[in-house]
């Protein structure tokens, strides 16, 4: 299993932060997922070996966190918040809008592999609700029209 130099330097840095190797697991999983798209069997085996863990332990941690996935997601992971603040300001309508526009449901991925959709818990952007997170970017104070526009832009970016 080969990771990028950037991953390797982050990994080395991460190990130095903790007294035991296993503590670096969660951040390492996130970096690996960003790089490989998903935490495949191969990634799991590699990280288990690097961190002195059994593969079972790595899988246990992955299954605990909803942000970690063993199945590849679309290029853009659209995460719509429906917690209280967003819900009151139309988060659920946004989610419905996304479902309709993308033709997929919660945790679904479009045929072309461009979009995944997820209904998520609070993403910490209540002041600007309703909010949506696409990969690591935030989009705030949304309306259906704005949402359409954002999805169009990502589509354009992704198919260029």
């Amino acid at each position: 299993m080969k990771f990028s130099d950037e991953f390797e330097s982050r990994f080395a840095e991460m190990l130095s932060h903790y007294p035991t190797r296993r503590s670096a697991l969660v951040p390492t999983l996130l970096y690996a997922q960003d790089e490989a798209g998903a935490l495949t069997d191969e990634v799991i085996a590699e990280l288990a070996q690097r961190l002195d863990l059994t593969e079972l332990e790595v899988r246990n941690v992955i299954s605990y966190y909803s942000m970690l996935t063993t199945k590849p997601r679309g290029k853009y992971n659209v995460q719509v918040c429906t917690n209280i603040a967003c819900m009151l300001r139309g988060g659920e309508e946004l989610l419905d809008r996304c479902k309709k526009r993308l033709g997929i449901g919660h945790k679904g991925t479009t045929q072309d592999g461009l979009f995944s959709l997820e209904e998520v818990e609070c993403i910490g952007a209540c002041s600007w609700a309703p909010a949506v997170q696409v990969n690591y970017d935030f989009h705030e104070n949304l309306t259906n029209a704005k949402m359409d526009q954002i999805l169009d832009e990502y589509k354009k970016k992704g198919t260029q």
Partner: protein, 784 residues
């Protein structure tokens, strides 16, 4: 640590500072219920059943994670506490099926007990139960998900206790689930500790499930018949058409040297007793064919042939091979029978460790052997050779537990990267077959240092390791059969330079040490007494042949040359185990006592169906010298214990049985004339019995009669009868025999059994075989 004083339920109690509140309560008889807390495992705080009210703390606290402090005021049974516990039980029952009437754990279930105590029989919850089908994780481990209450005991005992890490927790919150390491099945050591420790019926045993209910069995605590560690196992026994069937093995009373522990063999491998191939009728070869016969016919034939051969060709034309799985009493009796009735010293057994060399090396050095319990408390352990994880699972458990809970230092010197290296601080990897060199190096011979080097070890590493070991006090040294003869002497003299060092010699079978101590050797009598200087036994047993007998390979040569006219094999399969040519004994009259038609039984002229160690009474000495009581649990009709068969053969030979087994009231009946040569003298045995407040035994088939004689005669066996009968283990010092003879080291042939094999017993254990066949690869272990 100093004690602290606290008040629990109005009672003033004291407990060592730093101890857990739940343990402090337990020590004064106040039970705080818990599911997830388990002594010796890491703390979980998951089940919230042990909540108690502690004054000045705002909420209820978990007693399993709270340490006692001075002046603490605790109430464990207030209304508030009971209410909280009831709510926990109600939540647990929310998804728990109500299948107690068919659940294996019914009657032994901790959740059932709690429900009875706290009464959450009615639920406020209206949701449908979250039902999932049960899964089979391995031939012996089944998982019934809805019954699981997520206490994580199984996860912890598998990881921390067994160092296997085959179980984990998948998902989160209400969808959390215990998961095996291979998606839908387990790849592990199959010890079944997870089943034993499960407080409910979520993990059940493939060998036992749905067979019976706990209250329908009798529970007999006896000693496991597999490896040399001598774990106590409680056998659940139920009557059946052919006698009494063993349906379960566990260790519910936890009083043995193994406490919680049992391995796959101890827990499941008892089913050989009811294998369909079990012999239940004597067989006599007629016209070349083994034909069923009556016991009388068989004994008469054996008696006549043995007597004829002895009187005609002399005792030296008869060979005797004893067993490493029969009791001490049977081994002693066989040794005595061979010498005093068959008049031969051609006695041997399958040797797997050089105990005589240890006895000889320890001459004049008392207190130098360690018991199995000592391994759990020693500050440091040195392991040379052997692979305890596979060959001595209890020893491995003791070592791991000691390292985990008491931070013992473990030094491992081995020519293979055995699993216990993961607990070892320094691990010395040797080239193959250089354990003896390692011992010489430890003892100070630096010239051998170069011969110890491998890729993973350096000169400095070895020197540092030796320095560390030299600095240890009260070190326990366990060594495998790689060390024999003079190497053991070298190790002993090295150990003598360390303060308080004690030794354990590792042999392979349940009673290997017993066979050795009861004198199943051509040149050694019980207690490692050389035949040449055996005045004591001449006195006790009568006139004995004085020339050294034949060892097993020598018997083989004699048989090939036509000089061995008869061979008597008790509970052993030398032809199958030691790769002996089955035609070698075609000219000899061969008698075999066994449970099955083994390779050796196949060549026999007479086969006597024997009872196994779970079907008789006696004593076993484990490889550390811990003497324990073997109790009869199962029964298969028309089999006999080897003890009775030996006596019956002696009787059929026309020999006086009371000279062989001291039974009946000696002094009154015959003034001892029948007890060997001391005719007319007072009966020593009767005098000894009297002095020890013991009754004469009433039948020649009572092994306790021979135990009396062993205790009286054999060096090192002066035991406490009360402790023995109470089921306690007692460590025996290896006999100080003086100059025992050095045994040829090539006669020691390790059994090479691992976790899933156990000689003949393993071959006829369906459960063990199903586990063995299911093994695709070695257990997955943490990378390191």
């Amino acid at each position: 640590m100093p004690d602290v004083t606290l008040t629990v339920d109005g009672k003033k109690i004291t407990a060592p500072a730093g101890s857990l509140l739940i343990e402090a309560c337990k020590s004064v008889g106040i039970e705080v219920p818990s599911f997830c807390y388990y002594p010796g495992l890491s703390l979980q705080g998951a089940c919230r059943m042990c909540v108690v009210k502690i004054e000045k703390m705002p909420k209820l606290q978990t007693a399993c994670t709270t340490t006692v402090t001075e002046g603490m005021i605790v109430s464990t049974d207030s209304d508030e506490v009971r209410q909280a516990r009831k709510a926990m039980v109600e939540l647990l029952l929310g998804n728990h099926p109500l299948d107690c009437p068919v659940c294996d754990a019914g009657g032994e279930c901790e959740l059932q007990d709690m429900t009875f105590s706290y009464g959450a029989a009615e639920s406020k919850y209206m949701e449908a139960k979250n039902h999932k089908e049960e899964q089979q994780w391995s031939p012996v481990v089944y998982f019934d998900r809805p019954r699981c209450i997520l206490c994580y005991r199984c996860v912890r005992v598998c990881g921390e206790g067994m160092d296997v890490w085959a179980l984990g927790v998948q998902n989160r919150g209400v969808s959390s689930i215990i998961a095996p390491n291979q998606e839908d099945h387990l790849d592990c050591e199959e010890c079944g500790m997870c089943i034993d420790i499960c407080p409910v019926g979520a993990l059940t045993s493939g060998a036992y499930r749905y067979k019976t209910r706990p209250w329908e069995m009798n529970h007999v605590g006896t000693i496991c018949t597999h490896c040399g560690d001598g774990c106590k196992t409680t056998l659940g026994v139920r009557r059946c058409d052919t006698g009494a069937e063993i349906v379960r093995g566990d260790n519910r009373d936890k009083s043995g040297i193994n406490n919680d522990f049992l391995c796959v063999k101890g827990r499941y491998a008892f089913d050989f007793a009811h294998h369909k191939d079990r012999l239940t009728q004597p067989l006599v070869r007629k016209n070349g064919k083994l034909t069923p016969a009556t016991w009388e016919e068989a004994f008469e034939l054996i008696g006549k042939r043995f007597r004829d051969i002895r009187d005609h060709d002399g005792g030296s034309a008869i060979g005797v091979i004893g067993s490493t799985r029969t009791t001490n009493e049977e081994n002693y009796l066989l040794s005595k029978f061979a010498r005093s009735v068959l008049r031969t010293n051609n006695v041997d057994h399958h040797r797997t460790a050089d105990y005589p060399a240890l006895a000889a090396a320890l001459h004049g050095k008392p207190g130098k052997t360690a018991s199995m319990r000592d391994v759990l408390t020693a500050p440091a352990i040195l392991l040379i050779g052997n692979d305890p994880t596979n060959q001595h699972p209890l020893l491995a458990w003791q070592i791991r537990t000691n390292v985990r809970l008491r931070r013992a230092r473990l030094y491992v010197i081995n020519s293979a990267p055995i699993k216990l290296r993961r607990q070892a601080t320094p691990f010395g990897l040797l080239p193959a077959d250089s354990e003896a060199n390692a011992v010489a190096f430890l003892a100070g011979d630096d010239s051998l240092l170069d011969s110890l080097l491998t890729d993973g070890t350096s000169r400095d590493g070895w020197l540092a390791l030796r320095d560390k070991i030299r600095g240890e006090q009260n070190l326990v040294i366990a060594f495998g059969s790689e060390l024999r003869g003079h190497d053991i002497a070298k190790l002993v003299s090295f150990a003598s330079t360390l303060t308080g060092a004690r030794l354990i010699c590792l042999g392979d079978y349940a009673n290997s040490r017993g066979a050795s101590e009861m004198g199943l050797y051509p040149d050694l009598l019980p207690g490692y007494e050389p035949i040449a200087s055996a005045d004591k036994f001449h006195k006790e047993w009568g006139r004995l042949p004085s020339e050294k007998g034949l060892s097993l390979p020598e018997m083989l040569d004699a048989a090939k040359a036509g000089r061995l006219k008869a061979l008597y094999v008790v509970g052993s399969n030398p032809i199958g185990r030691l790769n002996i040519d089955p035609f070698a004994f075609s000219k000899s009259f061969v008698v075999v006592q066994d449970m099955f038609l083994t390779e050796t039984a196949n060549i026999a002229d007479v086969i006597l169906p024997a009872a196994n160690a779970y079907e008789k009474t006696g004593t076993y000495t484990n490889t550390c010298g811990d003497l324990q009581l073997v109790k009869k649990a199962g029964e298969v009709s028309n089999t006999k214990p080897d003890f009775e068969m030996i006596v019956r053969i002696a009787d059929a030979m026309g020999s006086d049985v009371s000279g062989l087994v001291p039974f009946g009231s000696g002094t009154h009946s015959d003034m001892g004339q029948t007890r060997g040569v001391q005719s007319g003298e007072a009966d020593r045995h009767a005098v000894w019995l009297e002095a020890h407040n013991l009754e004469p035994k009433m039948t020649p088939f009572d092994p306790m009669a021979i135990l009396d004689e062993i205790q009286r005669v054999v060096a090192g066996y002066d035991i406490s009868r009360v402790n023995l009968l109470a089921g306690n283990d007692q460590n025996l010092e290896i006999a100080d025999s003086g100059a025992s003879l050095i045994q040829p080291s090539e006669l020691i042939l390790p059994a090479h059994d691992d976790l899933f094999t156990s000689g003949t017993l393993g071959r006829y254990s369906k459960t063990l075989n199903s586990v063995y066949e299911n093994k695709s690869a070695v257990p997955e272990v943490a990378a390191d």
